[in-house]
């Protein structure tokens, strides 16, 4: 029998610690497959964030580095400037990238650092227990917005792709989702293009992946995908926001 699909060589054998149905695992797999398909796994250095994916360095089968909260783009900048022949990526959640690390990501993009960022947006802080994030939707209940996020108190959710697309140094910006197989395949194509942007030396690339947090949303894995589709995609439209081609 021929094997059509098997666990990517870009992942280690370590079982993921994520909750059942958490889409972090899907994105890990897509990133790992892209690195394998581009043939750069052995030349890749990843930077893990603080958050649920803090242990990502145990899962990617390439060299990994751990950064302080939100500082992954700064660490990646240093690595890439010292070893420009390496493929350098950061893997960051919305609490990491869109809150404490907004400064770092904006300036990494502004400087046109030739790194790739995979940005997981699940509209909540996962690891710390479901607090409101800058990306939490209006009306969404979290442990720190128990009546739902209000625009008057917290402002509207931050749209990272739209913001970074206005920066000249950012050369490839796309928002994708992993709520169904079609969108997951599109997400993989976007991640491939983002790494190609780096390999061709064009500049900064970022792929935002709309993801789920079944545990902190209080939904089962299947309901979480429905919630993502019905609530997140209307506010965070999928598509390409910047393309150097």
């Amino acid at each position: 029998m021929e094997i059509l699909y098997q666990r990517s060589k870009g992942l280690t054998d370590t079982p993921l610690h994520y909750c059942p149905g958490c889409t972090h695992g899907i994105v890990h797999k897509l990133v790992a497959e892209c690195l394998c398909e581009l043939g750069v796994l052995g030349d890749t250095i990843g930077v893990a964030p603080v958050g649920c994916s803090v242990l990502a360095y145990n899962y990617f089968n390439c060299d990994m580095h751990e950064a302080s909260h939100g500082r992954a783009p700064a660490v990646a900048t240093g690595i890439k400037r010292v070893q420009p022949e390496k493929v350098v990526f950061t893997y960051q959640g919305d609490g990491d990238l869109a809150s404490i690390g907004t400064n770092e990501i904006v300036h990494a993009a502004h400087r046109g650092e030739k790194i790739t960022t995979i940005f997981i947006n699940n509209a909540i802080y996962g690891m710390t227990g479901g607090q409101m994030a800058p990306t939490t939707l209006i009306g969404q209940k979290t442990t720190t917005s128990q009546s739902g996020r209000s625009e008057e108190h917290s402002g509207k959710p931050l749209r990272v792709c739209e913001m970074l697309a206005t920066i000249d140094g950012a050369k490839y910006i796309e928002r994708v989702s992993v709520d169904k197989p079609l969108n997951a395949r599109r997400a993989k194509r976007a991640i491939l293009r983002a790494f190609e942007t780096q390999l061709e030396g064009k500049g900064f690339s970022l792929v935002e992946v709309l993801s789920t947090c079944p545990t902190n949303w209080g939904l089962d894995p299947s309901e979480s995908l429905d919630w993502l589709r019905e609530n997140m995609i209307p506010y965070y439209p999928l598509g390409n926001y910047k393309n150097w081609e």
């Binding site: 029998m1 021929e2 094997i3 059509l4 699909y5 098997q6 666990r7 990517s8 992942l11 079982p15 993921l16 994520y18 909750c19 059942p20 149905g21 958490c22 889409t23 972090h24 695992g25 899907i26 797999k29 992993v178 169904k180 197989p181 997951a184 395949r185 894995p221 299947s222 995908l225």
Partner: protein
């Protein structure tokens, strides 16, 4: 229609059932009579005859627990 089959590695499976949701052919079910070493009901192939090898289950499996074969 191409003929495929799926196999599950219970070291990784957490019984999230996303594979079941995205299988159009009803090939997969959760085995509610058994637990994996981690304490989850594992996904099992109950109807591999219907499998077309579309790879939707393996794509959507967050824990990369599924291998898809083509016959």
């Amino acid at each position: 229609m191409a003929k495929g089959s799926v196999a599950f590695d219970e070291t990784y499976c957490k019984g999230c059932a996303l594979c079941i949701q995205f299988c159009a052919k009803g090939v997969i079910e959760l085995d509610t009579k058994r637990l994996t070493p981690k304490g989850y009901h594992p996904a099992v192939a109950v109807n591999n005859d219907e499998c077309t090898g579309c790879e939707n289950c393996s794509l959507m499996c967050p824990d990369s627990a599924i291998t898809v074969f083509k016959e």
